[in-house]
Amino acid sequence: MSLLDVKNLTLQFKTDEGLITAVDDVSFSLNKGEVLGLVGESGSGKSVTAKALMKLNASNVVYGDNSQITLNVEGQAVDVMALRRPRDLRVVRGGAISMIFQEPMASFAPAISIGKQMVEQLLIHTDLSKAQAKELSIEMLDRVGITEPATRFNQYAFEMSGGMRQRAMIAMALSTKPKLLIADEPTTALDVTIQAQVIDLMKDLVAEFQMGIIFITHDLGVVAQTADKVAVMYLGRIMEQGPVRDVIRTPAHAYTRGLLNALPKLDDLDAPLMPIPGDIPSPLERPSGCVFHPRNPELRPGSRYEVERPPLTEVRPGHFAALFPEDVAGES
């Protein structure tokens, strides 16, 4: 049984200008000990998808009727969409699921010590006593590689460097022993050398705690180094998903190829940088058919993709792309 099953997740926001579709019929699943990379540009719906797992989206959100999120913890299936009361939501918010945000400075309260914040959430989510919670917090700080954890425990967020703050954030997120960790661009605000340390740390922790991780990023290089499988999103749709090596080495969808071609590569300095043509359309003018068709340079005018929405078709075992079956056959 997989740890997390998301089926037909559709999510819209009610705004003054009308209903805006942020996530459109997205399905994926995640096993224990597995890292799923969720990749896409700004506005692709990756963060909104992750927040939906904890029902953290703003109050003007409208979930589609068929949307299903099932979390399997300790033999019990939790229907996340059915959770309403704050007390029930605690099971997913900070209990079975923890989240790490992009900006570690904004995620810690500035006027409360790191230690107090770590203990506070442990008292809410576990049966530990205050003294045990403190002991565990210091142990976790040590575990993520923070030196002199007992001193750091009493410090405030501003006394730490960016990398250390992000480590403390990870220590706090993991201290409740979540079954699922959502990391939303956890390394984007960090320098490359610190980023490499945080990536290594997260890999070690997956191996040790056997939790599932959803790693949200716009950086395909980071995904290649961390994830087992990847889902590429564009305008709220999954364009391609599958094992990370297969997707990055042999991308089936034009959008994934576009992202890869736009990336500056260090092993070939002469390769031209190829931007994806066109701009991301306004959320109020959602393209018909395949949402990517207006920017897809590989399509001829009048193609099927302009009016019909392509299904996720299996390209290779476990590797799916939003293509019509006839294009998959010609692809390989």
């Binding site: 490359v192 395909l220 290649a224 992202l259 500056p264 931007p275 701009d279």
Partner: protein
């Protein structure tokens, strides 16, 4: 190699950090930097947060005071000692040296139309004689930056990040500068837009004969755009070499560390 447009010798920038009148304490942000930026080149400066790369760029634009050392500008017509400029010289330098900012959302006034944003430097520097002439100039530079001319009457909120950065670039180039400092100009953009902006900067450099100082934390972006790279660490330039040489054969341990930390698309089997 062509003549240097910018040449610095042992340049230092310091910021006071508390202390009294008698025990002045300073933090040295740029610590003895000597460099030459050849005319018409795309000169990259890389380093991590706090390495002093932004401060160096600002010092060369005379936006922070130079504590000691020298910095000279020479475009063939005008020679300036950047550490010692008269108000008149500074005015002349402002026309020739411009800055492109990192965040295209914060850099543009939400209450001005795109036309007014691009025209503002022209009007302040009184480079044109009539409004019609200003408009011509704005249209010319907007076209060079691949902006849709029908968009000139709109306000910045109507544009995406990539389009905003093109507006930012157009404004920086409106007064016809020789030297442009691009401080993390693509760091806030998505990869596909980043590629577009980098290509635009390169084509502008070629067409207008500009000299760029390209400040970035991203080595792979620098590798693809710059002719020459200087690596900064704690206020000092630890290594400086033509791009190909630096990436093929990094000499300094810090450069090697930076290079090995970049997440690669290659996945081990």
């Amino acid at each position: 190699m062509s003549e240097p447009l910018i040449k610095t010798q042992d340049l230092r920038v310091e910021f006071p950090i508390g202390g009294g009148v008698f025990n002045r304490r300073v933090m040295t942000a740029v610590d003895g930097v000597s460099l030459e930026i050849p005319k018409g080149s795309f000169f990259g400066v890389v380093g991590e947060s706090g390495s002093g790369k932004t401060t160096l760029g600002r010092a060369l634009l005379n936006a922070v005071p130079i504590a000691s050392g020298s910095a000279h500008y020479d475009d063939g017509e005008l020679q300036l000692d950047l550490a010692n400029m008269s108000p008149k010289e500074l005015k002349a330098y402002r026309r020739r040296a411009q800055l492109i900012f990192q965040d295209p959302y914060a850099a543009l006034s939400p209450r001005m139309t795109v036309r007014d944003i691009i025209a503002e430097p022209i009007e302040i520097m009184k480079l044109t004689k009539s409004r019609a002439e200003t408009d011509d100039r704005v249209r010319e530079i907007a076209a060079k930056c691949r902006l849709n001319l029908e968009h000139l009457r709109r306000f910045p909120h109507a544009f995406s990040g990539g389009q905003r950065q093109r507006i930012s670039i157009a404004r920086a180039l409106a007064c016809g500068p020789q030297f442009v400092v691009a401080d993390e100009a693509v760091a806030a953009l998505d990869v596909s837009i980043q590629a577009d902006i980098l290509n635009l900067l390169k084509s502008l450099q070629r067409d207008l004969g500009l000299t760029f100082m390209f400040i970035s934390h991203d080595l792979s972006v620098v590798a693809h755009t710059c002719d020459h790279v200087a690596v900064m660490y704690r206020g000092k330039i630890v290594e400086s070499a033509p791009t190909r040489e630096l990436f093929a054969n990094p000499r300094h341990a810090y450069t090697q560390k930076l290079l090995s930390a970049i997440p690669s698309l290659e996945i081990a089997d």
